[in-house]
């Protein structure tokens, strides 16, 4: 992007809620059932049926509002949003338009070294549509209405986001909050967490907005990043050539990493919103909101501070462990595995945990960023990592050896235990064994020993080297230094 432009992004997230039943009927809210087995006259849009709002969906909306610092409106209204599409059996979607459940609030997001608040515009409740399938079908499309009527919260940010990194961090934080409050499982593959982006550019220093483009179909954090990077370049090139950006909807193509224009609609959409006559305005009892407030779990920001204190690490590092749940779970499991080692070895657990946390935030995190979740399983399971760090804690392996072992294990797919065995790497810390090597080396090098004792200090290094060689590189360097000094001083 040309340095004279600034990127302006607002995100819309559709999050499916963790309820048992759908939003307006008693059909089960479940992913993966055989097609059209979770439907009834209400969600099929048959005439004469009446929707009744699901209490749990409202409760989850309240909880999300509390977690994000939103204004929770004691009165909100459902509206009908009209359009024709085969996945929308009623011909309209029940949503909230003029009076949403939640407005305001913010999500603190990492922006380079700083933290910025991304403000929220609104969050409203609505029902999901069904699913259209096209792949492998000739001259027709198939419709599965199991998803029709599943409760959603649509979370709309203000256009406060300025970089692709901020966008990804915003989404990670939001997903984390949705998950930790039990509002949603945030599963991106199954579509419980879907994101659209509104992207525009403007000259730096300008306070007006450029023409925005809506991007859809980004179903992973990586794709969001790629799509935004691509789109900013595209718009930047247009503007620099003196052309204009067309207001349109574009789809991200994960195969090419590009965004492509969607079939443009001939006319502006006219959804003809009006208040849903079958559902009275949603009026909330303030006591209910208070009750939910009292039962909220620890919020991510609080958790970051607690973990930072507990493990003696910085907030930025603690945040990684909070946002990346797989890493946090891995750490928890490894810590439990380490407990067994500490009991057997008779050393305090904290000693090993400190090493474990540091190793996780450096070595494991680096590989995880590179290769993803595969570095947390199988031959690199939490038990294996615990074993590796137990060896370090017991000084049977130096830290740098452990790092090498880990790197080799990641590349080869072998377990650290196997790598150590194959390379005969374990460190020798036994005073008796090291002492024996020292005695031998001193006996083999009488003149060097004499010279050292006469004041040639640099021969100490030579003798250390000889012992190390004799040990096959396995002597614990600190122990060796200490014991050799003792032996020579005698």
């Amino acid at each position: 992007m040309s340095p004279s432009f600034e990127m302006v992004v607002g995100l819309e997230v559709h999050s499916q809620l963790l309820t048992h039943a759908k939003l307006f009927c008693g059909c089960e809210n479940r992913f993966g059932a055989p097609p059209n087995t979770l439907t009834c006259p209400v969600c099929l849009g048959h005439p004469g049926v009446l929707p009744v709002l699901n209490e749990a969906a409202v409760r989850l909306g309240i909880r999300l509002g509390l977690s994000l610092g939103c204004t929770i409106h004691h009165r909100s209204v459902f509206d009908r949003k009209h359009y024709f599409y085969p996945d929308l059996p009623k011909g309209y979607q029940i949503s909230q338009f003029t009076y949403p459940l939640l407005t305001g609030g913010a999500i603190p997001v990492r922006s380079g070294p700083e933290v910025r608040d991304i403000r929220l515009h609104r969050i409203h409740m609505e029902e999901d549509a069904g699913k259209n399938l096209h792949a492998g079908i000739r001259d027709a499309s198939h419709v599965d209405l199991n998803r029709a009527g599943v409760p959603l919260l649509e979370i709309v940010s203000e256009p406060d986001i300025r970089t692709p990194e901020e966008a990804v961090d915003y989404l990670k934080k939001l997903r984390q909050i949705l998950r930790s409050t039990g509002v949603s499982d945030g599963n991106m593959e199954e579509g419980s967490f879907r994101c659209d982006a509104n992207v525009s550019l403007r000259p730096i220093g300008s306070s007006t907005f450029g023409t925005k483009v809506e991007i859809k179909n980004m179903n992973s954090f990586r794709f969001v990043h790629k799509a935004l990077v691509f789109e900013v370049e595209r718009q930047s090139e247009l503007l620099e050539r003196g052309e204009r950006v067309v207001s349109e909807t574009r789809l991200f193509d994960s195969h090419t990493g590009r965004t492509l224009p969607m079939r443009s609609k001939e006319e502006a959409l006219d959804y003809r919103y009006f208040p849903e006559p079958d559902i009275p305005p949603l009026v909330l009892d303030p006591e209910w909101i208070e009750k939910e407030k009292a039962s909220l779990p620890e919020l991510p920001q609080e958790r970051i501070l607690r973990i930072s204190r507990e493990f003696g690490i910085g907030e930025a590092e603690a945040e990684i462990l909070v946002v990346e749940e797989e890493l946090a779970r891995y750490l928890d499991e490894a810590r439990e595995a380490l407990r067994g080692h500490s009991e057997k070895g008779g050393w305090p657990l904290e000693k090993g945990v400190a090493r474990l946390v540091n190793f996780l935030l450096t070595e494991v995190l680096r590989e995880w960023n590179r290769k993803g979740v595969q570095v947390l399983g199988d031959s690199l399971s939490s038990a294996e990592i615990a074993h590796l760090l137990a060896l370090v804690t017991e000084e049977r392996l130096s830290l740098s050896q452990a790092k090498d072992v880990y790197a080799i294990a990641v590349e080869s797919g072998k377990s650290p235990r196997k790598v150590i065995e194959e390379r005969n790497l374990s460190q020798e810390s036994g005073e008796e064994t090291i002492g024996r090597w020292i005695v031998e080396v001193l006996a083999e090098n009488p003149s060097e020993v004499q010279s050292y004792r006469d004041g040639k200090d640099r021969l100490f290094g030579f003798l250390v080297g000889q012992v190390m060689k004799k040990s096959g590189g396995k002597a614990n360097p600190q122990k060796l230094n200490h014991l050799l000094k003792e032996a020579l001083g005698r």
Binding site: T19, H20, A21, F24, G26, C27, E28, N29, P34, P35, N36, T37, T39, C40, P41, L44, H46, V52, L53, N54, E55, A56, A57, V58, R75, V77, H82, F84, Y85, P86, T98, Y99, N132, L133, H134, I137, D139, A140, S141, H142, V143, D144, L145, N217, L251, D253, L260, P261, M262, R263, E267, D270, P275, P280, P281, L282, V283, L284, D285, W288
Partner: protein, 99 residues
């Protein structure tokens, strides 16, 4: 208030309806009369639409308990469908978006 031909055609397009010339003329008159009637209602001193809760419906709003129950058998669900394929509703091909 008389609806223009243009307005009638716009509404018809939104409703996915195609109208004959006679129908356009007919609905211009009929819809206009409906709008005139609503205009009369608009002159009444009523609270703004939307947030108002009727006297009969006492807040807080009645809600459905979050309990799932059996859905329709798939055969019944599909029984009114003009076309089906296995357990799916079958519809005219939706244009692939994007490319």
């Amino acid at each position: 208030m008389e609806l223009t031909r243009q307005q009638v055609l716009h509404v018809a397009r939104l409703a996915n309806l195609s109208l004959t010339e006679e129908e356009v003329e007919h609905f211009a008159g009929e819809l206009s009369r409906i709008l005139d009637y609503v205009e009369t209602l608009n002159r009444l001193p009523l609270p703004p639409p939307g947030l108002h809760v009727s006297e009969a419906a006492k807040p807080p709003t009645p809600l459905r308990e979050d309990v799932s129950r059996h859905s329709l058998p798939v055969e019944s669900a599909l029984s009114n469908a003009p076309d089906r394929s296995g357990g799916f509703f079958r519809v005219p091909r939706i244009l692939e978006e994007g490319r």
